[in-house]
Subunit: 310 residues, 2 copies
DNA sequence: GCAATTTGTATATTTTTTGTATAATTAAAC
DNA sequence: GTTTAATTATACAAAAAATATACAAATTGC
């Protein structure tokens, strides 16, 4: 059996130079060499003349390192994982400020999450969706809840495990819904993917569902997609626009370096959604892409307008 | 139009001069000669006076090279890839199962993936799962297909985007199946998560489904879970064992540093599955965890035995 | 607060890679 | 014969990558 567990892994001999590793991970090649020199994170094969050659497993590894960095771990600690300095402030309850059915649902969901109760989670989810359309639920319940969870986590009163638990649940539910709704579709097709380094897919799925609701087709490529991979895709499949999603903590350098080549390579609008639009507005517009902001309905309306113009 | 069929069109066995190869591949003829001289990429037949004559196989070869270049490989390395590729043409061809339905399914799935055809993907998937149990499908179809996708990438005929597309599809389908099967469950409860840094969730989902099939409950925490997050979870929810999945190199370091504290903090068996078990067997057992290996059925049997003993 | 460390990046310099250009010669085409 | 195309061989320039040093911002220790 092949010693290759990574899905896109490359068997022996398929080696890439440092520029490709840099492109696929968004990490500066100088930094990659520094990591190797300082922490021996990776020891790539060398050509007879000393040039480094990396496997796709190395690509995975660096992406994981990037993720761990994003999780707050410092690069030096990733090698010798000595954490334990996790300051754990005591829980602080956030006071409720207003009353609405959504607050009640949000409270039930929150309790289910804290209890890691998959059954209750499903029950509330299906109850809500049998009463309200998905975009309303998204806007009034899911988004606020994700924000709430984020704040809980930031304040140290929630755990990463809770966020994981709910993310997996939500992603699976939304993913199932997406594939169910995707069948036998007409309408203009959007290619949807997360920016390189972005692992959180829920925002993209919510967008995809909203787009399906507006009679688009959606080709979903998921998290952490190298932008260089997209031009071959749009050559093979007829899509009308590309929509990329990224949260705030995506490396801005990725946007600056990869977005412009992408926009030049494809003859269609490239939209950027998510919180990253707040931080890299200039770079996005400079590259010729269209920022969408964080509001799904506004974003869809923007896409409608742009595609109608073309 | 090629009016001259005797000398220039496709005469002796379809041999073409270098300008035709250049036209068909888009590679400058000077460059083609340089590749031949520097890397011995191709050795064309020569006319008595030394002019190069290429076969259509050479055209395919150069196109393959161009694709590999597009995938980020450097020209100096491609030669070695082609050599190893040539040295091992097609050693294993699924012995004696020429009419196995799995090859047919795999072919249909592969075509759907290459075409980014979500609908066809769903159709084949549901057709297969209506005929065979999920563990058989996993073993005979999904796993070989993932390997095949890896091979395609190495040969320059596939892309990371294809792998993303299929991963997202598969993960959503398996996730939906998981939540569907999770409802109203009895039986001992397992906490399942990916090791820190591990982003590939398909293996964990396959395990979770296999566990449900054996009347376990599964609490699924998903990819990239910090091990220090787990003790608070098992204090809050009654679980009988923890199952962690990992494949990547980074997990090797993490295992050594984080696994021991986890095993000490929780009073229950901690299992480790996936390819990480091959690489870190000593560290895993030293920390007091139980390695499970890469085979789902064997892993489940091991968990059965261990839990029966407790 | 201040010094020490960490860490990503910048810079300088050299070497390697790689596509293309050029020149001189020969072969093929018309 | 003239023109076009292909050959070999050398050369060149831009890009990429190597090593080594330096630096600024941030974090940490005391």
């Amino acid at each position: 059996m092949k010693t290759n567990n990574s899905n896109h892994g490359l068997p022996d001999g398929g080696l890439v130079p440092i520029r490709t590793l840099s492109n696929l991970t968004g990490v500066n090649s100088v930094t990659l060499r520094a990591w190797e020199r300082r922490y021996e994170l990776i020891k790539p094969i060398r050509t007879p003349k000393g040039h480094r050659l990396y496997t796709m497993a190395d690509v995975d590894l660096i992406n994981q390192v990037v993720t761990l960095l994003g999780n707050g771990m410092s690069i030096g600690q990733i090698r010798q994982v000595l954490e334990t300095d996790k300051a754990r402030p005591e829980p602080v309850r956030e006071p409720a400020t207003a009353f609405s059915p959504w607050l009640n649902y949000q409270d039930r969901l929150l309790r289910a999450i804290v209890a890691f109760d998959d059954g209750e989670l499903s029950e509330v989810y299906h109850e809500v969706l049998s009463l309200y359309p998905v975009d309303i639920v998204t806007h009034r319940l899911i988004m606020p809840l994700l924000r709430e969870l984020g704040e809980r986590w930031a304040q140290g009163s929630g755990s990463i495990a809770e966020e994981h638990f709910f993310s997996v649940f939500l992603r699976n539910k939304l993913g199932a819904r997406f594939h169910h709704l995707s069948r036998n579709r007409q309408g203009p097709k959007l290619l949807a993917a997360c920016l390189p380094g972005e692992q959180h897919e829920v925002g993209l799925l919510l967008f995809a569902l909203a787009a399906l609701d507006r009679d688009y087709q959606v080709l979903l490529l998921g998290p952490n997609t190298p932008l260089l991979e997209l031009p071959p895709v749009v050559e093979r499949v007829a899509v009308h626009a590309i929509v990329l999603s990224g949260s705030a903590d995506i490396a801005a350098t990725v946007v600056e370096q990869e977005l412009l080549p992408l926009c030049r390579a494809v003859a269609m609008p490239v939209f950027i959604g998510g919180r990253i639009t707040d931080r890299c507005l200039d770079a996005i517009t400079a590259a010729g892409a269209v920022p969408l902001g964080d509001d799904l309905n506004l974003a869809l309306r923007g896409i409608d307008a742009m595609l109608a113009r073309c």
